[in-house]
Symmetry: C2
Subunit: 220 residues, 2 copies
DNA sequence: CTCTCTATCTTGACAGCGTCAAGATTATCT
DNA sequence: AGATAATCTTGACGCTGTCAAGATAGAGAG
């Protein structure tokens, strides 16, 4: 569960135990510690001071790397987007020239990411992007993910999977459908009765089926 | 803008100016003041103490009516859901026996509610419902809204507007599509370039069109 | 009308929070 | 080696959610 590669990111490389005045890798550590708190204690327990303490530094140390709390959250959101991006890239490679499979697999991965990391998912799309200028890395990775989806939509159109011809509209529509479903589930809006009869994945595949002209199966 | 009916809710009925030890209508006042803060200063400025101050009572007065901050937020979410419910009811009545119109109009109203009250929208669907047992009123109104959507979906199916036959699945799918689109827009996830070429309403209608077998126009 | 009970509200306190200023420490570059 | 800049600590500020104790007032019983 606690593999070494993650550990190496959490602590400075040279000497893990000996406490030094200069941490050596504090910025990344803070991001990873923040995500860890998110996973273990939830979004309500995420405070700058706790992140600092768990990283082994004083309460004001983060301000050497982040302008304020929002900046740390933006960095965590960037990390979330990056994880999605890496998974998407992998899927595109594995299912090259199979756009429908790419669409279904990336959608399922999006769902899984949300179910596995509910609070990181929330933060990833929490809208820190508002002040675009302040977080260029976040804006960039967001656009890269959208570009991937847009590309998939375009290829699906070429295979006649969709009626529509506008790739931007189609990409937004697909993203919204998947994102909305995941959001509703994570926020406990879907009644227990409905969820008892329909797994999240089934709900997702149903939604995708509604939008495509062909039959979409789990393919699993 | 500041009509009398709302004002009557904000302050005790008997005497508006004279300060009394017992407020008289504090519970509702706190909810409305909270929503007002949400609209004017945003979700980050919403604190129990500020709500209390703006309502003219001491900082601990709210605890006579709400167990904690989450309870007040749950009440505000209930108010948000109630506003949506009332609008939905009105639409259903006006467009009786026109299920497709009901679907499009309620979807547009959902979008408008989000665009007009971004932070109230966020709170309304923020997932306070998690601990279902604690907020029965919120669960109830949530289910009533879902029931409305389910009913509309059912009637649309009867008219052959959708392929699918499962009303629950269809309702969740439609809700997710609309909710996701509004969420993405409110959280600044849709790039400015895409938004420049496509209004929120256009995006919504496109998504609905993707799901139906018939052409959906604005009808406005 | 008065007494009692209970709901409502105030005051005061506490720890935890985000943030800033001042100073200490260490890495980096000339 | 010495200067400069980056990094981290310490201490302080006001704000927050929450609780305990007490003040006030409305409601019902006699």
């Amino acid at each position: 569960m606690l593999n070494l590669s993650k550990y190496a990111v959490l602590y400075p490389v040279k000497n893990m135990k000996q406490k030094k005045y200069h941490h050596g890798n504090l910025k990344n550590t803070l991001i990873q510690v923040g995500i860890k708190i998110l996973a273990e204690e939830g979004i309500g327990a995420l405070s700058l001071r706790k992140v600092a303490k768990n990283a082994g530094v004083s309460h004001a140390a983060p301000y050497a790397h982040f302008k304020d709390k929002r900046a740390l959250i933006a960095a965590m959101a960037t990390e979330g987007h990056t994880r999605i991006y890496e998974k998407n890239s992998e899927i595109i490679e594995v299912f090259a020239d199979m756009p429908l499979q790419q669409l279904v697999k990336t959608a399922c991965a999006y769902l899984d990411f949300g179910m596995d990391n509910p609070d990181l998912f929330r933060i990833t799309f929490s809208g820190v992007v508002e002040r675009e200028r302040d977080y260029p890395a976040l804006v960039e990775i967001t656009q890269k993910n959208f570009e991937i989806l847009r590309e998939i939509a375009l290829r699906c159109q070429a295979e006649g999977i969709f009626d529509a011809d506008d790739a931007d509209l189609l990409a937004v529509s697909l993203w919204g459908t998947v994102h909305g479903l995941v959001s509703l589930i994570l926020q406990g809006q879907i009644s227990g009765e409905v969820l008892a009869h329909n797994s999240p994945r089934k709900l997702l595949l149903f939604s995708l089926n509604q939008m495509t002209r062909v039959e979409v199966g789990a393919g699993l």
